[in-house]
Symmetry: C3
Subunit: 224 residues, 3 copies
């Protein structure tokens, strides 16, 4: 199958996944249905807009192809209405519902990160754009983490990229795998899928086993 | 009259209005006169800079035409000095002064939103740029809300777009009206004025009558 | 010596200095080694990325020349490991260590501000880009303060530009000096060095003598 199709699929998956994470973040901040839509759309399109501005491809895809904004908005409304009606119809807020939202948030954030990371790497592979492996990886990472940074900064939360272990790390490894695989096999589709799964798996394993990176702690006191 | 002149007037009105809202936000955060200037300039030029980056028109207008930065800075200084001298000369801080600042902030924020929304729609109407109605509206909304998002994120406040009912909503309706009017009448000036007033009126009515959009509440508890 | 070489040196100095300030900000927020790296890289490259997006030079330098990202990352790791090992080997957290970090942060932030300010002015001097003195200075200031704004917004701190007296002010004076010197002498190198030192000296003097700009205070109460 054509690489372009796979990039489109990745964009689509990443958009929907980040839209869900943005919608959950908005609901958590008690935003109304419209605020939830806006946050979801910005989260879903943020990474791609940053990517397009960086490579000088203006207007960004999000402004030339309505499907991404539409997918994000429809997704956000489904999430909002599901949560709205389930609580309306008697589901109580509890540690259990909270854990469910946490889990959905984690998976959507991870899938969005992975999809946009490999997408960003392929945007950097465009002929005559950047010829340096290091910087193609950098573009992949910025595209991957962009949506989440938008979401967190706009909802006044510490960006997940700084506090969740192995977030940008997973993105970097995924970007490297995508790039190396593409260079070795010249198969765009396979490299996208490989990079995507590597990113997801690393992030899942890090969460599951509680992998930690070194941190400087002042005996548990946060301000120093 | 020429459409270009009307766009210029809208830019001018939006710049001054957003500068006042930025100056009030800065004064509220106890910034000094210089911080107030910077915040006002960034609020006033933010939406336009985002618009120009998106349509690939670099350097952005704010950097090629000094009048916008100048208008914003002069406005900010007038606001700062007025507040400074009025309190110096005996006006006490009270619920009443606070309500006055709130009201000025509301109107300036609303006028800025409306002016930049219609301005953004017309930037998207440029020949051969975007041909999709959906996306022209999206560009209008991003341009309209951009300055306020800059102001709120930079002063560490939850962006007004997420928490005030019918903010982005008013911008969307105003953008649609501008676009449809222009397509139907081919009159740039009339479409700008129509879209501007529709945005302002919707936002005023929403505030006045306390219109609300559905929201998911955990019995008043905010974090869940 | 060639102006290009001096611009390169300024970029290099600014990148390293902002990377240190970003690393310290990250360590203060208890980020792990990876978060510290990301924040340092974004702080160090933020001003330059904003500059390149504004003048339409895409992809930004940070994406075409790996040296800046590398310098920022290496610097961040040196800072992290130094702090990590010094506390591991018995140095206690105290008012004294805190004061040392504060002082290093101040100097690095100041040097980064100065280096990117003069760099931004020269980017605006490129033939046929902007011909207006006012706007060349504006580009210098935006480039100078951009990295610090990224750093502060991403770590949920009030941007230093709004609260530290004579921060943007020093940048403006430095930008003016750079521009005027260049116009008068046509020596790029000398104008860069002059603007750099003027910015640093003004900021140092302001800190040392506690210069203040007028501010509106509600008898010490912050919210009004």
């Amino acid at each position: 199958m054509d690489t372009t199709v796979f990039i489109y699929i990745m964009d689509f998956i990443g958009t929907a996944a980040f839209a869900i994470s943005g919608a959950i973040a908005g609901i958590r901040k008690n935003m109304d249905i419209f605020g939830v839509n806006i946050l979801a759309v910005l989260t879903a399109t943020g990474g791609g807009i940053i990517r397009d501005l960086i490579i000088g491809s203006t207007p960004p895809k999000a402004f030339t192809n309505p499907v991404f904004v539409l997918v994000a908005a429809i997704t956000a409304n489904i999430v909002f209405l599901t949560v709205f009606w389930s609580h309306k119809s008697g589901v109580k807020f509890s540690g259990k519902t909270r854990a469910i939202y946490d889990r959905i948030f984690f998976w959507c954030d991870t899938v969005g990160l992975a999809a946009f990371t490999v997408d960003g790497v392929h945007a950097g592979l465009e002929p005559s754009l950047v010829s340096n492996a290091f910087l193609i990886v950098f573009l992949g990472v910025v595209t991957g983490v962009g949506g989440g940074v938008f979401r967190d900064v706009l909802s006044l939360e510490m960006p997940v990229i700084f506090v969740k272990h192995i977030y940008a790390c997973a993105s970097i490894v995924g970007a490297v795998v995508t790039y190396v695989w593409y260079m070795a096999s010249n198969s765009g589709a396979a490299s996208l899928v490989a990079g995507f799964f590597v990113t997801v798996v690393i992030r899942y394993l890090a969460m599951h086993f509680g992998w930690n990176l070194p941190k400087i702690s002042n005996n548990g006191k946060s301000a120093w």
